[in-house]
Symmetry: C2
């Protein structure tokens, strides 16, 4: 674990916003981007946070591979639905607009769905699902992504790690926030093992010939990830089915690219990524207070269930991330030294020096 510097949430957001504005992103959009990116760090999903500010977003903005103004347009609209074209804009900005419109519609009619085509990587899927929570709605957020996952009985990457995110309000308990790739692990996890020279657990990935491998490099070198479930004995075709479903709703239904046509983040062409969002008012079905009591009962029951040998806690989805958020509010948000180095360098390049004073440093996880 490399040394980590701790920064305040506000400092990181403010820097992110200034950085993006220097690359012609409008002030409001840059603020939205900052909120979404730093939320990932705050929730402990560092892989989707400030680490991508330069390496993905900044780079593509500088190369004019995405539209800094994120010029979204309406393809088709009804009171309960909206099909958007993201205008090859910034994924998080486009997605934020889409979910905002989705919630507005759901406020009027109780439920709405929005598709987006011609977008880019949108960061953490869970952010948009969670936007529904304060409105006492259930939120859904799906996106496709570049091919990394092999279908069951296949040996090449045909589907993205296509995440499913669903957020559901609760009462005294934290909300339920599922935010999962439909592969066993995201590709970033394999990269971490590669960098540290460790082998990966057998079953996570295959080499370019379709053989299961414990070598992270063999997966990265033309291999593929396995869908949730893994092999057929463990019913990996269910994870494959979920990945396919996400591609249907995000890609085919929206009119975006799908399967192997989705552009890779490091590819100069348009990614044409698609998203799908839904918002559903709880009180269409049940008074919200009754529902929240039910949620508390379900979640408390789960957490209080007897533990497996050697385990002392059962978690609800999103709980670890909410705990991490609390720690960040008091201690600051950890950013690893190599990322700070990249930010310093990128800041020089665009003329927005990364001049934040860390609150402190730490060497260990926690």
């Amino acid at each position: 674990m490399p040394r980590r510097y701790l920064f305040t949430v506000d400092d990181l957001k403010s820097y992110t916003q200034r950085f993006l504005m220097s690359l012609d992103v409008p002030q409001e959009d840059a603020g939205i981007m900052a909120d979404i990116l730093i939320s990932a760090d705050v929730r402990g999903v560092d892989s989707h946070g400030i680490i991508r500010l330069h390496t993905y977003y900044g780079n593509r903005l500088m190369q004019k591979l995405v539209e800094a103004a994120s010029p979204t347009s309406v393809v088709h609209e009804t009171p309960i639905s909206l099909a958007l074209d993201g205008g090859n804009g910034l994924g998080p900005v486009v997605a934020h607009r889409a979910m905002t419109r989705c919630i507005e519609k759901a406020k009027q009619v109780g439920m709405a769905a929005v598709t987006v085509r011609n977008s880019n990587h949108y960061g953490i899927a869970g952010y948009y699902a969670m936007m529904a929570l304060s409105h006492d709605m259930i939120g859904v957020s799906l996106t496709n992504s570049q091919p990394l996952v092999a279908p069951t009985y296949g040996r090449t990457a045909m589907l993205g790690t296509n995440p499913i995110a669903v957020a559901v309000p609760a009462g005294a308990e934290y909300p339920y926030v599922l935010d999962m790739a439909t592969s066993i692990v995201p590709i970033g996890r394999v990269t971490v093992y590669s960098k540290s020279g460790e082998t990966i657990p057998s079953g996570w990935g295959m080499d370019k010939d379709g053989n299961l491998t414990e070598s992270p490099d063999a997966v990265l070198d033309g291999g593929a990830l396995l869908p949730l479930g893994g092999n057929d004995i463990m019913r990996g075709y269910k994870g494959y089915g979920l990945a396919l479903l996400v591609d249907i709703l995000s890609g085919v239904l929206s009119g975006a690219a799908f399967s192997t046509d989705v552009g890779h983040p490091s590819n100069p062409g348009q990614a044409d990524i698609g998203h799908f969002f839904m918002a559903l008012k709880v009180d269409l079905f049940r008074p919200i207070e009754e529902f929240k009591r039910g949620m508390d009962g379900l979640l408390e029951g789960m957490k209080g269930a007897p533990k497996a040998p050697g385990c002392d806690r059962i978690y609800i989805h999103g709980e670890k991330e909410f705990d991490h958020e609390k720690r960040c509010e008091t201690e600051g948000v950890p950013v690893i030294a190599p990322v700070v180095d990249v930010l310093r360098e990128a800041g020089e390049q665009v003329g927005v020096p990364f001049d934040l004073d860390p609150l402190g440093e730490k060497d260990t996880e926690g």
Copy 2:
């Protein structure tokens, strides 16, 4: 594999209807039950087919544990939503009514969702999702069920095998029909291993102390199934998260029982099972013909992808079941001898002799 008798679809449906009518199920409802139960056999999901006519439905009707008239009532309704009470009726009848209303609403406004509380086991989840297909809609069907699955880091059954079914129309290709338990395998699969005296693959289930076991009997004797994904290294908490989501939407949102409060099929009390349905018109987002061409492209691409070593075919979800359906139409529907024996005995009991002439017999799978 025991000897199997082949019957025509119509004969099996007609017998099922007559059997249920003798137990005071109204003619139309009995016809719906027959269609749903026999569809399971026709699609190769024998575990949810005519095998349950007596062992589950007939038994509960005779004991007056379910209401033969399936008296559903409306709890709350809006143009896009419906919350139903199933009146402790027959699950398939109640679910069929719910999805029929859901589709009617979606025809009017484009999309609708329906919850059901106070219902019973509804058979194959995919049936109701597939009802949307002929309307060029995407259909969703979820249900909770009696506790059989342990949450990650837990050691007792806290959640049902809570299936997720989604059906999506295609053009020249078969529709995409995902119909999956959120556990690795359903409990019936473990029972099959127990009966044949074989061990189960490690990872499917745990014994009553929370240790992984290869003994099917140890799973059945107070143990639990593992969620899709399996252990934490293979990200079983995602399967656990999906099972929890299904319980939230089917159980908590509908006001039905959830988690360990859901009644067991062999328990004399009310099951109070909950369901959740959705229907979504494709042309809210994209012209249907364009969408279907996109679906064909996605599905053909998947099936044409390079195969893993030793594999000669990549399947789409539902494809094997559609193939099975075709075979049944020409050859007849296979019913294993032990089930025929039970049907004969039950038929005597209710005064509706199982007098169907088989088209033929076979000894092998296929």
